[in-house]
């Protein structure tokens, strides 16, 4: 495949069967390999759409400063786009994220402001909003509430899936900003009303839920519960175990959030088998494992890996 530049190569990622993880010939699992995007994650789609929309709206011109709260992948995607379009990028990222993300961001020329580990991404969002408030000329794309994030998936990921797998019955993905699930979910439901849209939410160690009271909680503005069929909370242990199964059974070296999505996908597969229904279940692989090597997720026993992951934001 030939493209004029890197951004043009966005999307069009492979959909590959998971024959060894699929329970039967009529209940099949598929993996959408989003690590095959320009910076190696699904977030390239949202970053490109959000920047393009801001340019159309006249908010950005060369030399503009973008500030964004992110746990890593969106920041890396934005850093690449910002580099090519000559914007300055400042990311606000929780300190309990992997070292690889920090190095990649710096490599692309982004500035990194760390937010406290306690409180996880909530704190990154709060701090980024505060800093943006102090600099009215800076642009916060705000992935948690930017419709272009979900639209990227409505216009690209969803159509790719339906074209490659017209018989799709389930779509399973990690729940973060909710953009992937909202965009793909709406697209599929319009065309296949019976499609099941399933969220896999990471369940972290207690540090991440270190709020002072429940009213400080956070629900992304993009989130619309009615798009989802169901939502699973997936522990670090289950996500790690499934991430390793992806390598062992199918040869796919994926990030840990992909393991969480696979865990939810296998639960839906078991349900389809129990009910005697045909199923073609797509699990979204948000990124590859490279950025998580330093967490020790792939090394030693599962218990050791789980211990090392305690308190880390792995998705």
């Amino acid at each position: 495949m030939r493209y004029e530049n890197l951004l043009d190569s966005l999307g069009g990622t492979p959909l590959v069967g998971l024959p060894r993880l699929s329970p039967s010939a009529t209940v099949r699992l598929w993996a959408k390999l989003e690590d095959r995007n320009p910076t190696g994650s699904v977030k390239d789609r949202a970053a490109f759409y959000m920047v393009t929309q801001a340019e159309k709206d006249g908010l950005l011109s060369p030399g503009s400063t973008i500030i964004e709260p992110t746990s890593g992948n969106t920041g890396i995607s934005l850093a690449m786009v910002a580099k090519l379009r000559e914007y300055r990028l400042i990311v606000v990222m929780p300190e309990n994220t992997s070292e690889e993300r920090r190095q990649l961001l710096r490599m692309y020329g982004a500035e990194v402001i760390e937010s406290p580990a306690a409180g996880g991404s909530n704190e990154a969002v709060r701090l980024a909003k505060q800093i943006a408030g102090e600099h009215p000329d800076w642009v916060m794309l705000y992935q948690y509430g930017n419709e272009a994030n979900a639209r990227a998936h409505y216009e690209t990921t969803g159509p790719e899936l339906l074209a490659d797998l017209p018989e799709i019955t389930h779509f399973v993905a990690g729940l973060g900003t909710t953009g992937t699930l909202m965009g793909v979910g709406r697209y599929l439901r319009e065309r296949k009303p019976a499609a099941k849209i399933v969220a896999a939410e990471p369940r972290y160690g207690e540090l991440v839920y270190g709020l002072r009271n429940v009213d400080e909680g956070f629900v992304p503005e993009l989130y619309d519960e009615s798009v989802l069929t169901t939502r699973f909370s997936v522990s670090s242990a289950d996500a790690l175990r499934r991430t390793r199964e992806l390598v062992a059974s199918e040869g796919i070296f994926a990030g840990i959030s992909a393991g969480a999505a696979l865990h939810a996908g296998l639960a839906m597969a078991a349900k389809a088998v129990a009910e005697g229904e045909r199923a073609d279940i797509v699990v979204l692989i948000a990124d590859a494992g490279w950025k998580y090597l330093s967490t020790g997720a792939y090394d030693g026993t599962l218990e050791e890996a789980e211990g090392r992951l305690e308190g880390q934001l792995w998705a």
Binding site: S121, V208, V214, E225, S233, S257
Partner: protein
């Protein structure tokens, strides 16, 4: 046997610091009422106008109860209920 309920750090003031408590009931609503009778004030932190509070997520065996039937979701001995505050997820 009873239903095991995992309590997040911010609500442990109501459970004398316990990470996990037990309760009974045939629905989630009954279970929460039972918990509130043993741990006064807990119910009010979870419920608002008769439904779950916006920033409170409750999972029955890891599945969000909002998709199962809310407070009417049937629960059984041996189930695990996890209460967590809604936070900005990862993957961002």
């Amino acid at each position: 046997m009873a239903i095991e309920v995992r309590i997040p750090t911010i609500l442990r003031a109501y459970t004398d610091g316990a990470k996990q408590v037990e309760g009974t009931g045939s629905t989630l609503g009954e279970l929460i009422a039972d918990l509130d009778s043993k741990h006064g004030g807990l119910g009010e932190r979870l419920l608002d106008d008769g439904g779950l509070r916006r920033f409170v997520n409750v999972y029955l065996n890891d599945e969000d109860v909002r998709f199962l039937g809310g407070l009417d979701t049937p629960v059984r001995d041996g189930d695990t209920v996890t209460v967590l505050p809604a936070v900005a997820g990862g993957a961002g």
